[in-house]
């Protein structure tokens, strides 16, 4: 049977995929002295000391809270502004619609490094440096265009007769949009939220530049701690493992919609 050979190769690939993550997990369960003295395939003397350090030290665990706050803010802002705009792009023809749509997409393709210095100056002028909202707004640069793009794909899949019938029935546009239309594309809203979460969660260049201490993301704390106290591989690995957890949880919740969402949407 051919499928058997296929399955074995696939299993082999998944093994390779998980190996580096496993290796970090392995490191996170050992002390630094242990890591540097012997190379073992699994922790012979597993310890949670690295995790305990992270959960009891505010300078560590606050990084997770900061990251989650600005990711949540960014996802909310992106969806709120992108929903009406995506509706406009999918339903109406208006002056400059194609140009605006293209201009939005160029921002998704802009190198983050280009915006680094100006962002720092802009947010310094506004007194927003080291706040969560600064990072959330900066991430809108790439997440809002992406959200418009995906949502427009989902909305164009809904026949326009539905809108027309609702308007004849006396629905106003806002009421129709909130009570009828958004429930119809809830899968699309879910997929969009997933991608906004993902790109805001993994981005670090802006998040690191725009924060000092109060809103510092966990990724930046990891690198800063390395330079301050020398290399503690075990601690760094434990912090890395914990950054995977929120993403893994989100994937688990959307796993059944993911394939469908990818096909319908445009990402």
């Amino acid at each position: 049977m051919i499928p058997k050979k296929r399955t074995i190769l696939l299993a082999f690939y998944f093994g390779l995929l998980l190996l580096p993550i496993y290796w970090m997990l392995n490191m996170s369960l050992r002390t630094n002295a242990d890591i540097l003295s012997v190379l073992t395939l699994y922790p012979t003397d597993p310890t949670l000391v690295n995790y305990i350090k992270i959960f009891t030290d505010a300078s560590w665990y606050s990084g997770y809270i900061n990251s989650m706050i600005y990711v949540a803010m960014n996802t909310t802002i992106s969806l709120t502004v992108a929903l009406p705009a995506a509706y406009a792009f999918s339903r109406y023809r208006f002056v400059g619609d194609k140009q605006i749509f293209f201009w939005l997409l160029t921002n998704r393709m802009a190198p983050a490094a280009v915006f680094l210095l100006p962002f720092f100056q802009l947010y310094s002028t506004l007194g927003l440096i080291d706040t969560h909202i600064a990072v959330a707004l900066a991430h809108c640069l790439f997440n809002v265009p992406l959200a418009v793009w995906i949502l427009e794909g989902f909305m164009s899949g809904i026949p326009r007769e539905i809108d027309e019938t609702a308007f004849i029935d006396g629905y106003s546009l806002p009421r129709f949009f909130i009570t009828v239309f958004i429930p119809l594309i809830r899968a699309g809203v879910g997929v969009t939220a997933f991608f906004c979460f993902m790109f805001s969660w993994v981005e670090l260049l802006f998040a690191r530049t725009l924060t000092v201490t109060n809103a510092k993301p966990i990724g930046a704390i990891m690198t800063r701690t390395i330079s301050a106290t020398g290399l503690d591989w075990g601690l760094m690995a434990a912090a890395g493992v914990l950054t995977i957890v929120p993403g893994a949880l989100v994937i688990w919740f959307v796993r059944n919609h993911m394939a469908k969402g990818f096909a319908l949407g445009r990402v």
Partner: protein, 290 residues
């Protein structure tokens, strides 16, 4: 689909317009402003015209970074696209294996980019890494901090590990969207597995594969955090890609003028490429509907 003509739709786009203008147009104006001035400190600046642009275009290190960037993105696409499609073809179509495969594939995509670098740093170091120590115990000296070739191999491995799942997920979604009747027809015609792939699956996946190609090209062209953590652009300048060089120039040396001119050139390159891609994308969409 025929659209309604209505310029009031602008009001619906206004919030997006405002928020993106705030975070894109104002910063871009600042960059343009920097690119034509020499700044000594607060309030001390001299208008220099196109001087920074001339200097930047003649910068040999920039040329090297640009070619390195094209080589990197080209290699990434050559490896990731076929591999992603093969994985998608091998994935189960029903049962618990589907959920398992999807979750496993999506895992690398949701790890912060600097942590990706950290994972591979730990994994490939010759002293504490599994990969590094296995290669070295086979008698091959492997150290990505010393040899440019090893640094490139490590970066490519990391990039393929990180992003092939995205291609696979998109290709899988495209495959799942093909109606069952196509396969039945192929079976009746006695089509081989290769013919089914070449004449049914591949054409039907064209849309998602175009998107995968665009996303992979863009993101590999803008890569920053992973090589920054893993190699820091070294050894030497062997893995200094465009973004890394730009940040070095702007934040490291604080050469605002040249960095701004560089930013604008970088942005224009991406813009030109993405305009071409956008046209291609539109045509692919039209081809599907016809």
């Amino acid at each position: 689909m025929e659209k309604w003509d209505n310029n009031k739709a602008w009001f619906l786009v206004l919030p997006v317009f405002a928020i993106v203008a705030f975070s894109a147009v104002i910063p871009l104006m600042t960059v343009v402003n920097y690119s034509v001035q020499d700044i000594f400190g607060p309030g001390q600046r001299v208008f220099v015209g196109a001087e920074w642009f001339k200097a930047t275009l003649a910068d040999r290190r920039l040329h090297e970074a640009l070619w390195r960037q094209f080589l990197f993105s080209g290699l990434v696409l050559l490896i990731e696209m076929p591999l992603g499609v093969m994985i998608a073809l091998a994935m189960p179509k029903r049962g618990w294996g589907v959920s398992f495969s999807l979750v496993t594939l999506a895992l690398p995509l949701l790890i912060p980019w600097n942590v990706i670098g950290t994972i591979w740093l730990i994994f490939t170091r010759p002293d504490i890494g599994l990969f590094g120590s296995i290669i070295n115990s086979m008698g091959i000296a492997f150290d990505h901090t010393a040899s440019p070739l090893d640094a490139w191999i490590t970066l490519m491995l990391m990039e393929v590990w990180h992003w092939t799942p995205l291609v696979a997920l998109l290709a899988y979604a495209g495959l799942r969207a093909i109606p069952e009747v196509y396969y039945q027809a192929a079976k009746i015609d006695g089509a081989s597995a290769w013919a089914t792939f070449r004449y049914i699956q591949l054409p039907k996946m064209r849309g998602v594969l175009t998107i995968a190609l665009l996303l992979r090209f863009m993101d590999s062209f803008l890569i920053y955090a992973e090589p920054f953590v893993l190699t820091g652009g070294g050894p030497g300048n062997s893995t200094t890609f465009l973004s890394i060089y730009l940040v070095k120039l702007a934040v490291g040396q604080f050469d605002l003028g040249p960095a701004a001119a560089f930013s604008i050139i970088y942005f224009l390159i991406v813009l030109a490429l993405c305009f071409v891609f956008y046209q291609v994308l539109q045509n692919v969409g039209r081809g599907e509907k016809a």
